[in-house]
């Protein structure tokens, strides 16, 4: 069975929270809005209502929960922003507009650490496992920061475009689309690396779990 992710949600998660798409949303504000909307929408706060209202409440709360989880986590937020900008790394079926492969040096480094991870696990070295986990976390953080830097430019670029477009169809002295595409590609490349580290960390966690159970 070959897995393919479904395509985009109808309403933007950012819209749901009444904010512009951003790499750095204000987290306390996000939380406050989440609580406020939950109190209004949650089925448990509408127990007296009729079935139709309650079903609608369920539907809306489910979407709200998904949106909040996506926007709250820096990693999920970055992937989501990339998707908004037009590159869905989860959709394995649609072709990406560039070769989606991290550089060979990166791949061999991950491979090397993976070997160490498996070795530490088979020799039941909890300390080494933890060290490798820390290393991977730092590496992930670096890639994510890089991706975010490029995503910020992408969003800026998009904002510029949409600011210029409504005024007269074709933008004349507009920012070059090529710059935008390049930033997007860079962001996607770093997020692909993030994916590798995410998988690495998941395995590291599973190994540790097995050591302790």
């Amino acid at each position: 069975m070959d897995a393919v992710k479904a395509s985009a949600a109808s309403t933007s998660f950012f819209e749901l929270f009444h904010i512009e798409p951003s790499v750095d949303p204000e987290l306390p504000l996000l939380e406050a809005t989440y609580y406020e909307l939950s109190l209004k929408l949650h089925p448990d706060c509408n127990t007296g209502a009729d079935l139709k209202t309650r079903l609608h409440a369920l539907e809306q709360t489910t979407q709200l929960n998904e949106a909040y989880a996506t926007l709250l986590s820096p990693e999920r937020r970055a992937f989501y922003l990339l998707k908004i900008c037009g590159v869905d790394l989860d959709d394995k079926h649609s072709a990406l507009p560039f070769t989606a492969q991290p550089p060979p040096a990166f791949l061999s480094y991950v491979l090397e650490l993976r070997e160490e991870l498996h070795k530490a696990f088979s020799q039941r070295q909890a300390d080494t496992l933890q060290n490798l986990e820390r290393l991977a976390k730092e590496a992930l953080q670096k890639e994510l920061e890089e991706a975010c830097r490029h995503l910020r430019s992408c969003l800026l670029h998009r904002a510029e475009l949409s600011r210029l477009q409504p005024q007269g169809g074709e933008a004349k002295a507009s920012p070059s689309p090529a710059t935008g595409a390049k930033e997007l590609q860079q962001a996607a490349a770093h997020l692909l690396c993030v994916r590798y580290w995410q998988r690495f960390l998941k395995d590291a966690e599973l190994f540790q779990e097995e050591l302790f159970s």
Binding site: Y35, L39, H42, T62, F212
Partner: protein
């Protein structure tokens, strides 16, 4: 049971039936209700206790006894008295692990996991739990003088889908509309948070008789948001007892203990554990063996559990994105947190001592009652629980790997969608396997459902699009739908409960139980009095034999006659009240004799010692 005696003005309308909150525990259960805005636990036993032992006895004549009396019968009938069945909720036959000292008799043959008991067909853990729930419901009915129909039932946060489903079905079987399955630590946080009015990040450390949960919550103005949860649905005080019992068996070189010995040893182990919470050293005697056990021994025997608990706590903190220092308070829940060693663990993990501000054994029931009250809908208090799923939900993909659709700690209600395609030309069906768990390989996760989507029109490989939709409701229960997008062929998947009872079987059982409900309450009272009468008789006869010298011939004759009368009544009467009276009368008659025995034993103890020892 003062409620039975309350006289109600017939002119006044009946009070609306309250929804109860139930803590369905491994070793004991409680029921609570909110009255006049305050939650309180109800009395569930004749001795005014609010705690009902989660023990069910099936006697040879087909009657069922729940609670304290059942627990007393465990020594006499270890195999017909089922305790700690919560451990087996939602488990299949192949997952049954007989603990070394347990005396469950697995029913032979195929089919769902069930236990053989005398006096009837084998019973499944779901049915046993339903008996406990039914007992709680009836006793709440008696205490409140109003019919009980709705309940919120607590489950360990770390219960998987199958365990939750089994609990919900047990509630239905007991004739309850289950308004919600509430996670135990969340219930505790609700009771604790509303009482203390504190805000911030809290950890709820819940170590009960059979399960361990750790939940990290954020409390903000009436919102109880669970940030992460972790745990072990097979780790609790029971396991400590077992470790202690095994260590003693080893110490005394006892091999192949009988069911009776096991029962006695487990009970002794529990007592030892409880005593060591108060004292630093305890002497234990068992048959011809004896030993002195100090806290360090206990510490050593239960040490292996610390690693698992520590790991779960660390993972919950990590998933919540918090460091130990950011946890304001650690709230202790569950009877096992009374152990000094467990408190020491908490301090070691979180760097601060745990707290109990609400009774750790009642707090879950109280929280469940609050949630029941909130869900009844007539309030406008702004209190909301936002809970999560404890384990990731996913599908098996090519090569036996799992693809996670909903990661653990996703807030519920939640949903996820994934599209799959065919990998062969003209493929007309697709096998879809729903799993729960964190492991990479599907066979290491819990299998929730396997189904076959049929009727995909012939197409080239990779062209068909099958959308699988997961939805998790507020109880944490999953439903799955699959649809071929081209043709619109849709299939709803019943997550086949792995407790093995079909929907029809459950429906049939529910109908049968409604018919019997009325007789049940009377037969329960009678059975309990019969047990009590037998116990009193046996004790009296034993003492009369042992202390014949303390009885005058006259007294002996009259006591003997009175006991004969009670025995006769026991055989003939169907009235619990009559039997009760006879027991009390006999007890009264034996009072003088019993007092003499007590005085005598005190003297004989004193004779062997100097007064300074006391």
């Amino acid at each position: 049971m003062s409620g039975l005696l309350q006289i109600r003005d017939p002119q006044k309308p009946l009070p609306p039936a309250p929804a109860i909150g139930v803590d369905l525990g491994t070793t004991h259960s409680l029921v609570a209700v909110v009255t006049q805005g305050k939650p309180s636990c109800l009395v569930v036993d004749e001795d005014n206790s609010q705690v009902l032992p989660s023990v069910v006895h099936y006697s040879a004549n087909g009657s069922v006894v729940v609670g304290k009396y059942a627990k007393q019968l465990a020594f006499q009938f270890p195999e017909d008295t089922l305790a700690s069945v919560k451990r087996f909720m939602g488990k299949s036959r192949s997952e049954f692990e007989a603990k070394r000292l347990a005396s469950y008799r697995l029913a032979p043959g195929e089919g769902p996991l069930a236990f053989q008991v005398s006096g009837g067909p084998a019973v499944t853990p779901l049915e046993v739990s339903a008996e406990i729930l039914r007992a709680l419901k009836q006793r709440a009915h008696a205490a409140l003088s109003s019919k009980i129909t709705q309940a919120v039932i607590s489950v360990p946060a770390y219960f998987d889908n199958a365990q939750r489903q089994a609990t919900q079905d047990a509630g239905r079987l007991a004739g309850l509309e289950v308004l919600r399955l509430i996670n135990e630590p969340t219930a505790a946080a609700l009771a604790y948070g509303l009482q203390s009015k504190k805000q911030g990040c809290f950890a709820v450390f819940d170590l009960g008789g059979g399960t361990f949960d750790i939940s990290i919550l954020k409390l903000t103005e009436g919102i109880f948001e669970v940030k992460a949860t972790a745990g072990d649905s097979a780790l609790g005080g029971d396991d400590f007892d077992l470790s202690i019992a095994c260590a003693l068996l080893e110490k005394w070189n006892i091999e192949n203990p009988t069911p009776l010995q096991r029962q006695a040893l487990l009970s002794a182990a529990r007592q030892l554990k409880e005593q060591l919470s108060q004292e630093t050293s305890v002497d234990i005697c068992f048959e011809e063996h004896s030993a002195t056990v100090v806290r360090d021994d206990l510490k050593q025997w239960i040490e292996p559990f610390f690693k698992r608990i520590n790991f779960a706590c660390k993972r919950a903190l990590k998933d919540a994105g918090l460091a130990e220092g950011e946890i304001q308070e650690v709230v202790l829940v569950g009877g096992s947190t009374r152990m000094p060693e467990v408190q020491h663990w908490v301090e070691k993990i979180f760097g601060k001592p745990g707290l109990w501000e609400v009774d750790p054994e009642k707090v879950v029931a109280l929280g469940a009652a609050i949630q029941a009250h909130l869900l009844c809908g007539t309030h406008d208090a702004e209190v909301l629980l936002l809970d999560v799923i404890p384990l990731s939900l996913g599908l098996e993909t090519m090569g036996g790997m799992t693809e996670k659709l909903l990661p653990r700690n996703s807030t519920i209600p939640a949903r996820a969608t994934q599209t799959f395609t065919t990998f062969k030309d003209g493929q007309s069906g697709m096998e879809i396997h729903v799993v729960q768990g964190e492991r990479e390989s599907a066979k290491d996760c819990r299998s929730l459902a396997k189904f076959h989507l049929k009727g995909i029109p012939p197409m080239a490989a990779g062209l068909a699009r099958v959308e699988v939709r997961f939805a998790v409701d507020a109880n944490g229960l999953l439903s799955v739908e699959a649809q071929e997008l081209g043709t619109g062929i849709q299939q709803e998947v019943a997550i086949q409960p792995s407790h093995g009872l079909s929907e029809e079987t459950i429906e049939r059982m529910i109908k049968a139980s409604i018919v019997h409900a009325q007789e049940d309450i009377f037969s329960r009272l009678l059975i309990e009095q019969q047990i009590e009468a037998r116990r009193v008789l046996a004790e009296l006869h034993k003492q009369m034999k042992a202390h014949a010298d303390l009885l005058s011939a006259e007294e002996a004759t009259s006591l003997w006659e009175a006991s004969k009368q009670l025995e006769a009544l026991l055989e003939t009467t169907q009235e619990a009240a009559k039997l009760r009276q006879a027991v009390l009368a006999l007890d009264n008659q034996a009072k003088g004799f019993v007092e003499r025995i007590m005085n005598h034993s005190i003297q004989s103890v004193l004779q062997g010692h100097s007064m300074t020892e006391f």
